[in-house]
Symmetry: C2
Subunit: 348 residues, 2 copies
């Protein structure tokens, strides 16, 4: 029986949702139950947050349950977080096999996220991440360093979360891709549909903020950083070496509200799209911008918390529609990564 | 520079289409061009068919081009096929790293396909297959034996071919899947649409046969073997241990033509569906049968050479629509496998 020592880096909504899945759902998944369960077990060793490092001492299941319930509101529990231990010390002390990374994104210069990924990889600690920053800045660099250190990187949760968009891209790497068109950010898609139904951009944004749908800095959504990060990841999976800042961004609020409202009358729909076009195998354009779709297009029907991708290939059109986040879906994508990581461990 | 010695097992339309992709398209794919090209090269060493074994002696590119053009019509070329060499001898003689398998299916008892897969795996020869037989009979047995022999098995071409259905299933392994509904056989979907537009089952079947769309034995299509094999593979990817004969099949011709024709008047559409339902993580039903859909359902819109999958999860609905085969698409799925195999080789 192989044991996987696991740490959490970040413990917000997504980290907690993943902890709950680990406690209550992993063992119910058929891959674990029927294929892996007798060979591999998990043990959680630490949780690292901005409050410090919490190192598990007793039964990890009960300690993790307590953290899920009481972090960060319980003062007694917070005292158990040691602020004097930095990540390097923790890695040396615990030497974890796997880190569950749920850091907030950092799209200005990528830090401290990039540095954290580097430390983990140097330590041969595999990574399952919901944070897009590392891969949106340095996809192949991280992947190749991870491989050379025999570490796994799972990143299904970084794009569309509830829908296996990264798997889709891996599955078309042998095809001639002519165009990729996608809705990768549910928040802006919601804002657009509120504008369509009569609200101004500012009213729609305020409503989305009130409902807790935007990033803490909502420009990450409506200025296209989030979509650009995701598009960069998808293009890297296809085999291109591009980073978030290679994707051109046009803010959603550059388009007149009236234009969005009037589009349906002409059989069109404006959506905030992430698109790429290709010419002889090279990227011709890669951009995030408000753009017009035919109402009959599968992307025009993407509503609510859903995302979609349409890929034109030389042999036909592939479309995938499904839920985006939030935390529950993101955590399930990470659970899929965990199962893949376990299959990978077993093969080594 | 690592060299991959490759053999073809079977060389019909799909094998030839893959050979053309290998000759003319591999190097244009971004994963190869930008990531792998400097590290790994391919060399084709032999083609094995029912006519015997053709062993490459000179420049593999020009010999493979000749085979693509002239096999099996050219008599001089056929003389180069040695009928006295069996697969074991060939494997010992060449010791290939990778076999491109495009055998016809064998759904009665799985032979000789199962035996061929066993020989390849025993020899530590990795496999990229378009043939569903092996995996539809013994998915995890083959996968686990391959892993223990450090061989790769790529099988994207076995389901939906033009659309990454196997990737989709890998991508939802961490989710709670409640229902899977799919159109996995384009031929029967075409037959149904011909019946809808006024033809009888027999007229529709004859037309599909005339147009070369059916399997040589068309019962493989309309009695549901093909769809059942594909559904079995999808369920195994989710982590279940099921084989083709565990899937219940109801022939397409058990339903009245009139019922198919009248369905649209009631806002419905009859389709030949492969479905599975789940209860507390166990498979409740797994079947191929003619069944009614709402006209608004994404699967009701799957036409022509397209296939589709709709997965209900506890967190929402994921749908994927895209092209099925024929040979071109199947070969591109195999090219995707080849790129994944190369990434896998490089990591070892």
């Amino acid at each position: 029986m192989e044991k996987i020592k696991l740490i959490f880096v970040g413990f917000g909504n997504v980290g907690k949702a993943f902890a709950r899945k680990l406690l209550h759902q992993l063992e119910a998944r058929p891959i674990y139950r029927n294929i892996l369960g007798n060979d591999i077990a998990i043990e959680v060793s630490a949780v690292v947050t901005t409050k410090g490092a919490y190192i598990f001492r007793g039964d990890w299941r009960s300690e993790l349950s307590t953290l899920v319930e009481k972090y960060p509101s319980n003062v007694e529990l917070l005292k158990r977080f040691d602020r004097t231990i930095d990540l390097d010390q923790l890695l040396r002390h615990i030497n974890p096999n796997l880190a569950i990374v749920t850091l907030p994104p950092s799209y200005s210069n990528g830090q401290p996220n990039l540095e954290i990924y580097s430390r983990l990889i140097e330590n041969q600690t595999s990574i399952i991440t919901a944070d897009k920053t590392g891969l949106a800045f340095k996809f192949w660099d991280l992947i190749e360093r991870a491989h050379s250190r025999e570490a796994y990187i799972g990143y299904r949760a970084t794009v569309m979360a509830g829908t296996p968009a990264t798997d889709l891209m891996q599955g078309v790497a042998g095809k001639e891709v002519l165009e990729l068109k996608s809705i990768l950010n549910a928040t802006t898609n919601y804002i657009v549909s509120l504008i369509e139904s009569g609200k101004t951009f500012h009213q729609a944004l305020e409503q989305a903020q009130r409902e807790g749908l935007t990033e803490p800095d909502p420009r990450i959504d409506y200025e296209g950083y989030d979509s650009a990060a995701k598009l960069a990841i998808l293009l890297n999976i296809l085999g291109y070496r591009v980073a978030i800042h290679d994707i051109s961004r046009t803010s959603l609020n550059t388009i007149d509200d009236a234009k969005i409202r009037e589009a349906p009358k002409k059989g069109k729909s404006i959506r905030y799209l992430a698109t790429a076009t290709f010419d002889k195998g090279e990227i011709k354009t890669a951009e995030v911008k408000p753009a017009e779709l035919d109402l009959g297009s599968p992307l025009a029907k993407v509503k609510g918390n859903y995302n979609g991708i349409v890929i034109e290939t030389s042999q036909g059109t592939i479309s995938m529609i499904g839920p985006a986040g939030p935390a529950e879906n993101t955590a399930e994508a990470m659970l899929t990564d965990l199962l893949e990581y376990m299959l990978w461990i077993r093969r080594k």
